[in-house]
Symmetry: C2
Subunit: 336 residues, 2 copies
Amino acid sequence: MTQTLDIAVIGATGTVGETLVQILEERDFPVGTLHLLASSESAGSSVSYRGKNVRVREVDEFDFAKVKLVFFTAGPAVTLSYAARAHAAGCSLIDLSGALPADQAPQVVPEANVEVLAGLKAPFQVSSPSPSATALAVVLAPLRELIELQYVHVTASLAISAQGREAVSELARQTAELLNLRPLEPKFFDRQVAFNVLAQVGTPDALGHTLLEKRLVRELRQMLAQPSLKISATCIQAPVFFGDSFSVTLQSANAVDLEKVNAALEDAEGIELVEAGDYPTAVGDAVGQDVVYVGRVRGGIDEPSELNLWLTSDNVRKGAALNAVQVAELLIKDLL
Amino acid sequence: MTQTLDIAVIGATGTVGETLVQILEERDFPVGTLHLLASSESAGSSVSYRGKNVRVREVDEFDFAKVKLVFFTAGPAVTLSYAARAHAAGCSLIDLSGALPADQAPQVVPEANVEVLAGLKAPFQVSSPSPSATALAVVLAPLRELIELQYVHVTASLAISAQGREAVSELARQTAELLNLRPLEPKFFDRQVAFNVLAQVGTPDALGHTLLEKRLVRELRQMLAQPSLKISATCIQAPVFFGDSFSVTLQSANAVDLEKVNAALEDAEGIELVEAGDYPTAVGDAVGQDVVYVGRVRGGIDEPSELNLWLTSDNVRKGAALNAVQVAELLIKDLL
Ligand SMILES: NC(=O)c1ccc[n+]([C@@H]2O[C@H](COP(=O)([O-])OP(=O)(O)OC[C@H]3O[C@@H](n4cnc5c(N)ncnc54)[C@H](OP(=O)(O)O)[C@@H]3O)[C@@H](O)[C@H]2O)c1
Ligand SMILES: NC(=O)c1ccc[n+]([C@@H]2O[C@H](COP(=O)([O-])OP(=O)(O)OC[C@H]3O[C@@H](n4cnc5c(N)ncnc54)[C@H](OP(=O)(O)O)[C@@H]3O)[C@@H](O)[C@H]2O)c1
């Protein structure tokens, strides 16, 4: 008989949590008992897993000693409230909220820095990085040998679902209001997001940077092991339900060999390279897929040390739930 | 009695042409007889000007000797077909299609390089640059004294209307189909553009660059009189009807003084600076306005020589029709 592992998912009714449960099933993760946790609001509801409805319970009443592994897919406040309790009860944990410092729970994307996992002992703590840092790590990792990175410039056009269920409903509602010529009543957002692009996702700090932009820079540097890599990051909000898109410009210390870049991307794990002329999109390609799509691989218009790329990735799958499960798969031998 | 000028607008039934006619009226441009021209398809229809319906006629049958000034707001092929004929008939011309080389018809945005106009004699030929180059020129010009520009990185999120009337209809149609759960049938675009972001606008060349990206680089360099300025440009297609948005990162040779940057933008012509914390959007701010909006003025996360900006601009007004009329206003004394 194969061994199994008892698991808890906190935030199981959310955008990421529901997908995570679905991915555990898709990938035949050796789950023993699955405990689905959320706030008191949805305690009592249920989520489908392997053809059964699994009852959702309140996280506050959960005995963490019952499980060996906990996925934290509620917000950072929930991680900060329960991570220590779970860890003290002997649980390993994978956090998807970005709440834990890197020295406590390193950010890991297997395609980029799987070696970090070798240094961990159960009960371990790992972070699955923000969707933007994840997509960029998958694509920049195989280019490290080819390109002496000097500066990375990213404009990330994020999906509405990056902000959770309520944001998704609001885009649908605003769009219908506008198409039906009814007055627009923004609620979750403070303005029209349908047929519009917002300059930021979340509230900026005193210097003008949002948390997602700071996470992108910090997490990417950590995963590429280049703590002083120069990165400019702008995260904007597109009226797209699912799937992030990234316009990326890399500056190299040397002229970029585009043939070698294409070959490296073609060979790399976790990447689907789209042929020149065509390009991937969030909706048409990335959503529902496990890989990061790369297209528009091109040099500068007349600058040989420049490399431009276009990436699209499913923010909820590879950007969150899938990456967390992939990390768990690599660590599971220590837990069984 | 004030003097007036007889004028022709080619492409008067189009997105840019109709707005241009409206702006001539709004700004009380001293128009004598206004000749509205288009293809045989819409010859016979009419466009409203100063409360009257002006009949549209076929450009091919027009006698250019009747006018002193011609606005070319049909596509580049139309400019190439008729510019020489118009010029030979003694007309000055302002082209909005990007078809004419800079040495024949320099790109001009008054806020950036008004001095070019002083060197022209009637009958002159001037180009109004692409909306992206126009917005960037307006904003970079007042920063030239403060920032020793080394590299400009732009991701331009372009409005659907950048591709004309048919593209606008298709976004509306696709959106309604999706909201009503009807099968999607892309026509103008080759794929879903509603609730999606496309990686490019137009077809790329063999090296991967689109015409709009190459125009942005070429026109901006010419207007800033920095022929070897490094510029990386990516123009993407957002599901937004009107209004372009730009994520811009500038690299300076020195540390950037943000207070001075804010002061310079505050004082500059043609710019509305949005206070820190808030930000402008295409739909909420730029559309229907004459200025380029600037927000999210911030340094690098830890790089003092980096400056990040977010711009929004009405692609049809300042990006095209308004800029062309502003140029005409500055040159009119030579024509009357
Ligand atoms: N969406 C993405 O693309 C994405 C990607 C990567 C990481 N993340 C991160 O993942 C986390 C969840 O995001 P999401 O998009 O899935 O959000 P969401 O759709 O809004 O779901 C939030 C989940 O957290 C639960 N929750 C909220 N407050 C709670 C509390 N006090 N105690 C226990 N559970 C609570 C909710 O349960 P109830 O049903 O009881 O309210 C729900 O299950 C966030 O930290 C987010 O930053 C999101
Ligand atoms: N849209 C923008 O944001 C924007 C901004 C800056 C510059 N531009 C440039 O301005 C030009 C027009 O763009 P648009 O967006 O206004 O396009 P549009 O909405 O599709 O309108 C095209 C116009 O050109 C006319 N036309 C087409 N073929 C013609 C022909 N063979 N002879 C005479 N007239 C002809 C059309 O007349 P019919 O009614 O007879 O077809 C119509 O008036 C393009 O070069 C574009 O690149 C556009």
